[in-house]
Structure formats: C-alpha cells, structure tokens
Amino acid sequence: MKSYRGGVQAVRGLDLEVYEGECFGLLGPNGAGKTTTIEILEGLLEPTSGEVHVLGRSWGSRERELRGRIGISLQETKLPEKITVREILRLFRSFYPRGLEPDETIRLVGLEEKSNARVGKLSGGQKQRLAIACALAGDPDLLFLDEPTTGLDPHARRQLWDILKGFKSRGKTILLTTHYMDEAERLCDRVAIVDRGRVIALGSPPELIASLGGEHVIELTLEGNGSGAAPGEVAGEAIREIPGVSAVRIEGKKVSLTACEPHRAIPGILERLGGNGSAVSGLAMRHASLEDVFVKLTGRSIEEADADVLAS
C-alpha cells in the first residue's frame, strides 16, 4: 500500500507476482496507481506498508547489486539535448559493472543511423527507443517500463514492441505499465487490470477476454418501436434472455453485448427485436478486447476513466 499525506491512498491491496521470462502488464487508466506501483517495485518509492521482492531480494540491502540486474525506463526522462546517442549510452553503460557496449544497445533498438545525432534532433519514437536502450545498458534480467509507448505514432509503437519482443525472446522478464489495451494484448503474457489503486482482474489476455462469456462483441443501433420508451431499454430486456449472450450494455440507442457464437446469437437477437417492434438501423461485430473487460468490470470505458482523473 502507498498512501500520501492527507490520507490519499494511491495504491492499496495490490498483490501480484511476476514470473521469470514473462512480459507482465499493469493496465489501467491514468491515475489508477500504475506509476506508483511500478516505482515501488523499482525501489524508487517506499511503500507505506507491504513487501516487495525483486529477483528474490528486497530493497534496502545491497541495493547497487540489485540495480545492476534491472533496467528502468521512467515515464518521462528528458535526456540532455546536446549529447549524442552514443555518448548517453556510454554514460549509462559506465554505471553498470557489466553490460552491453553502446554500439550493441544502439543496434538492439535500431538507432544505428542516429548514433552520432544529438538527443535534441531525435523524433519522439527515437527518443523513446533511446530511453529503452539506456535501460538495456546493463544487460538486465528484468526490465521495468512505465508507459513506454505513450504519445507515439502507430509505426513507432510497433517498432518498440518488436524491440521488447526481442528482449523477451532471450528469456528475460518485462514489467510494463500501459493504458493501451491493444499494447497489453499484443505484448503481455499476463496483465493485471488496475483501477483506483486496486487490481480488478488478473490473467492472460485470452483468459480475461474469455471471462466476458464470449469473445465477440456485437453492437446494435436501434430506432424506437413507437411506444415512447428508450429504444435501448426496450431491446435490452428482450435480448438479455437469449442463450449465449452476456455483458449486455445499454447506452441510449446503442446496445452492446458479447457472444461466443455470433452466427447463432444474431438470428435470435434479430427475431426478438422484430417481435417487440424495435427497428435495427445498424449492426457491427468485432473481436472482444481487454477494453471490453475493463468496461464490464468498471462500468466505464478507459477514456471515461481518464476524463474522471482530469475532472478531479
């Protein structure tokens, strides 16, 4: 648990275990307590109560030895603008008793062409790759990454994912935070969904999606049946009872639900709706994602949760 003066608890009752060789994601909206959690694990923040074990050791004794085996990328680090990529990596390499030569880390993150460029001349994606390279300088067994792809364009994000997959393929462990559901799905073996300082779900992405009761999401747009009642409400009642349908969520004219066998569920749905006079003006179907898991568990989308943080 971590609480701040004034009684604000950033994180409470967060109990999890990360296995060697896996990529573990802490997934949640802004302000959920992800950064607090990862910085406690990194030994940069002290928990108000609770225990942390990293690579079988706890913080507080022989700290440098432990730091020599982990690599960290903070949420925002502004590296010196006037220094070149290779110079920065030389510096970070010098902090570790053993590690990768600067040219080797440059190669791992694909910055060969920029090795003599100053940090100030790099794009956002290149800077983020350099931050990862700094984390790799000590050839760590365990990598902590706080929001590694926030603010990057899709191409830069994919490049970064490939770097991390390469790191994991060498049998190493990654713990990252993200508020991108797709990132967690593609990269992580297991994720913990965090909201308001608590873990609300834990498992592999397919397991979590399966917990919805179906891996397909069907979204319907409805027109009223002329009775004056809200079209979604009327339809929702009718749909809930159909076998194989779960997680029905109604929002004005829109109804979303999950189904494991859409080819069976859809005809049943349309039949029921026809029966109570609702007109369907749109139907879309997609694979269920972790986003749907978050919505099911919290009743709000990640964007809504981010907006809550801004509002408070």
């Binding site: 903070l74 680090t77 220094i83 110079e87 010098s94 902090f95 570790y96």
Partner: protein, 348 residues
C-alpha cells in the same frame, strides 16, 4: 571488455553539455571580459591634469573673468556663460564642476562638496583667478603624477571580478544544474541505476571547477591585455584560492538546490544569496565603506573572504599560506553547506 569509470563519464557528459551551450559560454567567458572593459573605461584614471568645467554667471565682469581662466597657465578651464538659474542647474546636474557668480565686487563659488571633484575645481579656479589678479606663490612646488599598474581602480576591480565569477560558477553551476536535472527526472533516472551518488556529486563539482580555469585565465588575461595588470602571486596560489572558493560556493549552490524542484525557486534562492555579496563583499567598491556595525556580518560572507584572499595573491603577491584564515573560513562554510546538502538532498 572495456572498463568504464562513471566519474569520468559523468564529467565528460557535463563538460560536453556545457561547452555545447552557446548561452553558457557567453555568460561565463564573454560577459566578465565585457564588464572589465566597460568598468575600466568608466573608472579609468585620468592621465593628464583634468580640465575644470566652470559655469560663469552672466554679469559685466564675466568677459574679463572668462579670459583670465582661459589664459591661465598650468590649468585647463572650460567656461560656459549662463544666467544664474541655469548656471546653478548645470552645477547641480554635474555638467559643470563649479559655478562662479561674480557679484558686488566679490566672487561667489557655488558647488556641492559631496560631488566628486567640485572641491578641487573650486581651488583650481580660485588659484587661477588669484594668480591672474597678481597673487604670487609663497613656496615653489612640483607635482609628480602616478598612474602605475597596481594602484588603480581597475587593478582593484579585476580580482573582485574573479571572485564574483567563482561565486556565480559555484552557485549556478551546482544549484541551477541540479534543479534542472531534477526537473528533467534525470536525477531519478540516475539513481535508478547502480551509479554511486558520490560519483555524481564529485563529477558535478569537478566539472564546474574545471570550467573555472579558462574563466579565470580569460579575466586575468583581459586585465593584462587592456590595462597592463600583472598577477603578482604564483599560479599555484591563485589556483588554490580558486579551488577553495569553488568548493565553498559549490557547497552553497548544492544546499540551495537540495530540495528545490522548480527553476523559479532556485533562481530566487540564488539571487537572494548572491545579492548581499554583490553589494557588501567588495567586488565593485570596498567593503570598508560600510559602517563598523555591519562589518562582522560582511566579514562572515564567504565572498568577502574570497575577495580579500584573491586581492592579496593577485595584487600583493601574497602566498596562499599567508591567507590561511580566509581559506579556513571558506572551507568551514563549504563543508557545512555540503554536509547540509547531502543530509537533505532529494534524489527522486
């Protein structure tokens, strides 16, 4: 496998960062030279006997008096005729040194004795007029004018500027840079590695001290080039006094920065720290000018101690060993500041 020395790498990075910043180069190396040249010009010693500027109040005798002054031997007078009121305002604004008002057969001198040179001007004007009216010198006199390097204002100023730069370098170089690194989360990033905190601090202080070397050479060289000021003390003594000063002000800079996480705050803290030393520590004018009651306070300022020691070494050729009380005072202040800074320092 190659071996790496973190202190060296930190030092190299800091040095490269500094020398790749054109603004920093200007402030550190160019501005003190400009300051020397400008102050040297403003306060230059007058080479020849000075001309005396006189406002002569218009009256029937004005013509005759003006002629007497203009033809007086051994003195140069610039005479401006004006009605009484405008003559007085010329005097009070400092455009003339003395106002001469011939009235009722007598000569009235109007001047403010607090204004530099007005007393002398009155004496010169009076002597010239008395001589032209027939007064004879009772004693034969002779004048020797001294403008040798070592006794002029500029000589006094240059060691003060050296001290000022050591103070600025230590305070800004450690205080400002530390807060900047903290704001950029680089301090936090560094302590997330196995880096030794002491390596970081040693490299920061060491690089700042090395930047001082060209700084001081530039100032002393400018003093020599433009004003012929020779450094009498040995290079080693200058270096030792500089080093002790650098450590002292580096410690104070670090103390100011130890918990600060805003640029505005550190700016304010450093300016508040520096202002009394700018004024009282004898950079631009001697601290002896302040009343005795303030002296204990003034002597407690580290820049006062540094300036006294630096002047002794540069101007009088004193050895740094002679200056041990000054050096000891700075060492104690610096050590206390460092101890406090390390005690309260916030890395993350």
């Amino acid at each position: 496998m190659r071996t790496y020395w973190p202190v060296k790498e930190l030092f190299v990075i800091r040095t490269k960062e500094f020398f790749r910043e054109p603004d920093a180069i200007f402030w550190v190396y160019v501005s003190p030279v400009l300051l020397i040249v400008l102050l040297g010009i403003a306060f230059r010693n007058k080479e020849a006997p000075q001309e005396v500027r006189v406002a002569l109040v218009e009256s029937p005798r004005a013509e005759e008096l003006a002629r007497s002054l203009e033809t007086a031997p051994g003195g140069k007078f610039l005479v401006e005729k004006a009605p009484l009121e405008s003559a007085k305002s010329l005097g009070s604004s400092g455009k003339v040194d003395v106002v001469l008002d011939p009235r009722d057969g007598a000569l009235r001198y109007i001047y403010d004795p607090a204004r530099e040179g007005s007393e002398a001007a009155r004496l010169k004007v009076d002597a010239a007029l008395q001589a032209s009216a027939g007064r004879k010198d009772a004693v034969a006199t002779e004048t020797v004018i001294v403008t040798e390097p070592g006794s002029r204002y500029i000589d006094w100023l240059v060691p003060g500027l050296v001290g000022l730069n050591i103070m600025g370098g230590g305070l800004w170089g450690l205080g400002f840079v530390t807060v900047d690194l903290r704001m950029r989360k680089l301090l936090k990033r560094f302590v997330a590695t196995p880096m030794r905190k002491s390596d970081f601090l040693v490299a920061l202080l060491g690089s700042r001290t090395v930047f001082l070397v060209p700084e001081i050479i530039v100032i002393l060289f400018a003093g020599r080039l433009f004003f012929g000021l020779e450094t009498k003390g040995s290079v080693l003594d200058v270096a030792l006094v500089t080093l002790v000063g650098a450590i002292c002000f580096g410690g104070i800079g670090l103390l100011m920065a130890c918990r600060t996480d805003k640029i505005e705050t550190i700016n304010g803290l450093l300016n508040v720290t520096m202002l009394p030393m700018w004024l009282f520590s004898g950079v631009f004018f001697s601290s002896d000018r302040f009343p005795d009651v303030m002296q204990p306070l003034i002597q407690a300022l580290p820049l006062t101690q540094l300036n006294v020691a630096m002047r002794a070494v540069i101007l009088d050729g004193a050895s740094s060993a002679d200056q041990w009380p000054r050096l000891a005072a700075m060492t104690v202040i610096g050590a206390l500041a460092f101890a406090g800074a390390l005690r309260w320092f916030r890395w993350v």
